[in-house]
Amino acid sequence: MTRTFTVAAPARSVGRLLLHGGTVVALVALIVFFFAMRPDVFLTFVNVKNILFQVSILAIIAGAQTVVMVVGDFDLSVGATSSLAGAVAASLMLTGVPIVPAILVALGVGLLVGLVNGLLIAYVNLSAFVATLATMTSVIGVAYLVTAGTTLFDLPAEFNNLGQGRLFNIPLPVYIAIVISIILWAALRFTTVGRQWHAIGGSVEVSRLSGVNVRRARLLAFTIAGLVSAIGGILLAARLGSASAVQGGDNMMFSVAAVFLGMTVIKSGVANLGGTMVGVAIIGVMSNGLNILGVNAYVQQVVTGLIIIAAVTLSSLKTRER
């Protein structure tokens, strides 16, 4: 509603650019700040690698969230789905199933959860919030059952290598996150279904009347989100060398925060993969930087909230009414 008025700002001045990219500015400001505080550490190869490693799994899950949010929905179950997928893969491998089939089954489970979400939302017309809240609840329960409430470990070394191995001294998950992000970005931008997702996010009714199979497209979005979350969860298990029912649960909230931060990056205010990655970077840089400065964990938590507010506020100044 206010969007209509956003455009009322003056010409393309530097100031406007700054406002526009408030979130980007916030990211740069954070980087500059931490660099100024610890020039010897913050931008070193090791630390940058560290940050990338730390955010790579969040980046994957936030990518899944982006797809769903482009369509104008939410997926609260991404974190739970990722935990379940990790747990399934781990428990299968522990019962002797070889790595590849175990991973495939786990991916299948993620896909299935996404499919159920999609069916409930696109075909039974449940609101995305309730539907994914409910599946989230059930999926966590299933993950507890799969792990029997324990942490599964002793996974095959080749599996762990997926999450802990390196190529050119950069951890594998970083590459995987980059590849998945590029695929999702291209899918959103260049494929027909990607265009349909954007259209549905703009107006379900117009899309329907333009011949878009809205239900199928939404179903697909949730299914993909489930699948991609599962990838994230399997990688997390490989990265930690273990799997539990709750590990990675906070990725849900962080993924939503990242997408929201990213939405402020572009003019139209729509979820977009580039923006999401900026959001992920903010979250990663912040937590790494605060750790490096040795800030108390509780204070960190307070600061995290404040920085999210600051970043989004900065961008939203442009959308101020009139």
């Binding site: 610890r38 550490v41 070193t44 709750v246 990675g248 490096i292 040795g294 964990a297």
Partner: protein, 306 residues
Amino acid sequence: GCSGSGGGGDAAKPFKVIAFTSGNQTPVGAWWVKAVTQKADELGWDLTMIQGDFDFQKMNPAVESAIGQGADAILDGYTDVASIGSIVTAAKDADIPIFAMDSATKESDAFAINITANQQQIADSTVNALDKAVGGLKGKSVMVIGHDPHPGIRERASLAEKAFTAAGATIAGGDIQKVKSPATGRTEALALVADYLTAHPNGLDAVWVGWDDAALGAAKALTEAGSSAKVTGVDATSEAIAQIEAGGNFLATVEQPWPSILDSLVGHMTAFHKDGTLPKTKFEAVDTTLVDASNAATITPSDKLK
């Protein structure tokens, strides 16, 4: 089913016991629920078991209403005295004693008895192990990772910190590092250690962690950074034991003797059933076993208790 009292006699009605635990989603909690049920069966108790999965808003009213329906004794497993104030009040009003294990770190009026692991001894044994492994703590840099919401961890972390400081070690980061959520303990600890090591390359000689799950994250971070610093945890989970046996950064963990604690608690309750005697002390701290490479193979992991 269980047939009342074996010897007949005057046992008109069975011993009525309410048992509750907040931690039934953890492996130890699950063992406790099973073990208590089994014991009750053997002893012919009339048992009401209430499981709270850390949701006191749900658990406390359930326990209180069971109290309202009458009972002879209450058995608390692993539930912090701080969180059950309303249960304690209700039990006092109804004049029912609470027999507890691992429910407070100090003597408390809330319980007829509370048996727990000796936190001081846990801290001492782990600190000692680290001291030996790094060849003396003096001038060494040690990170202490704790988790405040858990009273046991909080207690032993602060005891460990004192011990380290007394031994002349520096506490990395100046203070106990705090993990916020047990669910993400491993990832949080991993990031804490990894980030600290980037800020202070080779800056750690030892990491003391309050429980195994987070200790495993810390150990991983050390391994990945190529550090030779040693880690200790507490709980003796099978994963930790496996790591200790593998001989990496994970140096030692601590076994807390839950089965024997439960046995002695049940002993106190049986005594109370027989003639109403209450335990002489309200607090009992039981010694623990340090698990390191030398004895790891002989220990039953806490998540594999039968």
